[in-house]
Amino acid sequence: MQSSQTPSRANLAGWLYVSPLVLVLVPFFVAPILVVLAASFFATDGFGGLTPGFTFSNYVEVLHSALTLKLYLATIKFTVLTWIFTLIIGFFVAYFLVFHVRNQLLAIGLFLLCTVPFWTSNIIRMISWIPLLGKEGLINQALLATGAVHQPLEVLLFSDLAVVIAYVHQLTIFMIVPIFNSMARIDKKLIEAAIDAGASRFDIMRLIVVPMSKSGIALGTIFVVSIVMGDFFVVKVMSGGGSASVVSAFYEDVGVLQYPTAAASAVLLTLVLVAIVSLILRTVDIRQEITR
């Protein structure tokens, strides 16, 4: 009797534990995704009206469009550039905080300082680049004054460069936090043991710190990649409309009431992202690294 009752009871308790998450995820995540998935197979009358049905024509259209490839290439370019810069900056900021700031209180203070940009809204943060990068911005003024250039640089604002700068500015914290977290758990004695064995600073970083921060790097990568690939706003504002991304394209579709093709693009992007994330998870066993 005991044996027949215990599993069902354990099951019930298990369901109770996950129920809050289920209550949030089902209406706000699973349901919308199902709606989008369904819509991607619907037909449309071209004026926003949807005809329930099952057609692959939306996917065919998206996949046959030469624009799709171009958009993906542009988005991947932004993603890779942003990833490289946030990774380099995030890694070294975390490294500095963990291994070079002896005073723990100071380290936490500096860590909080990294979050200061997030005290204002995303839009304000982007607008504040204009006085710095603009044609009459500080950087151009400085360059003109020193005689380094004779014409103000146009490339600084409303360009791909500006898009990457804005992304790096926004997303470096998403690298710093997980990398900081995994680095902070490296026993300082390991570093000493490595020094004792004759390892140089670079050896220590290459052979100890980087491998042991892998889970943080992977988590940060997932954050940065999925945010950049799912964003259209920064591209739109910072490129001044000159560049587009996958999301900005189907945002345009939504604007002209092409819901099914937008839905099909969205599903495609989701699949691409799922593939990228699972690739990352396959290289780094985050769960094992975290429980270590």
């Binding site: 004695k189 390991l190 000493e192 043991a193 064995a197 004759g198 390892a199 140089s200 052979l207």
Partner: protein, 368 residues
Amino acid sequence: MAIERGDIELAGVCKSFDGLTNVVDGVNLKIADGAYCCFIGPSGCGKTTILRMIAGHEDPTAGEIVIGGQNVVGLAPVQRRTAMMFQSYALFPHLTVRENIAFALRVRGMSKIDRLRAADAMIEKVRLTSFADRLPAQLSGGQQQRVALARAAITEPRVLLLDEPLSALDEQLRVQMRQELRRMQQELGITFIHVTHTQLEAIALADLVVVMEQGRIKQAGPARDAYAHPHDRYVAEFMGGQNVLSGRVEKVNGASFVLAQAAPDGIEVPLQARAKISVGDTVDIAVRRDDVTLVRPGQTLPAGCSTSLPSRVLAIEYQGYFVKVMLDTVPDDEFVAYVPEKTFFADPLNVGDVVLATWATDRARPLA
């Protein structure tokens, strides 16, 4: 400039972390090449700091550290030819046993084939061949300790520094690993410096025992000296096995003096080399616990015993090959007799019994 010998000399070594108090306070010590030296003392006595200064992980505030005839202050651990085995081992958790052991060779730029061959030879020496591809987390405490030892020994250091190497192990394993450490030391023929707070460990292993208190060396010498001939009350109490009594000197006559105590005739103590004892001084004396004989009142004292202290039995602890009898002989200090098991059970005592504690007069020693 390679250091070829492992003899160490500390001269006036001081270390202060806050600029106010010295954690290590003017330590002078000579350790012979190939010696097994144990630093022993309570936590916070500075023994680990000394070890870390010899290793090159801390710099002394003052003084010199000479290894193999060369002042090594300011040199990196590699240049000192020292290797350290860390407390709780500090094995690299993401590297296998083989990679852990080969690490030092890797950062020295040895080719992969050579370093793995050298690591495998070392793995065989510490008998871990079947575990070479495991991660440290998949090993037992004793195996991890052997990996740590192998990792430290692979660079053929002249001095191996061990920071409480056995403290993470359970009792049985500790005794076993103790022998293994000694075996490795003899096999490698290099200087071992071992920090511990367990006196049994120190006297079992060391050629040279260094007893420390608050940054100072209290006594340094062969294990038997530290245990059987402690200089002062601190060393006697820390090393254990001694009863320490204090009292006022009542009279000094020729080769011995008499200490006023609860005993009717006082305690007679041979003077030995320590001549500066005069009537009225307060002096500590030590009597080994296993030199104390317990006699029931009315029985005659064994030959050579001039002192007998009436005592009541406070507690009895069976220890296997001897019985620990705790007595109220002296008011403020602990007084214990280690009675051989056979002797004890020939005439078992009970708690509350009154006995005379006595010892051969020449077994009592005055302390500094």
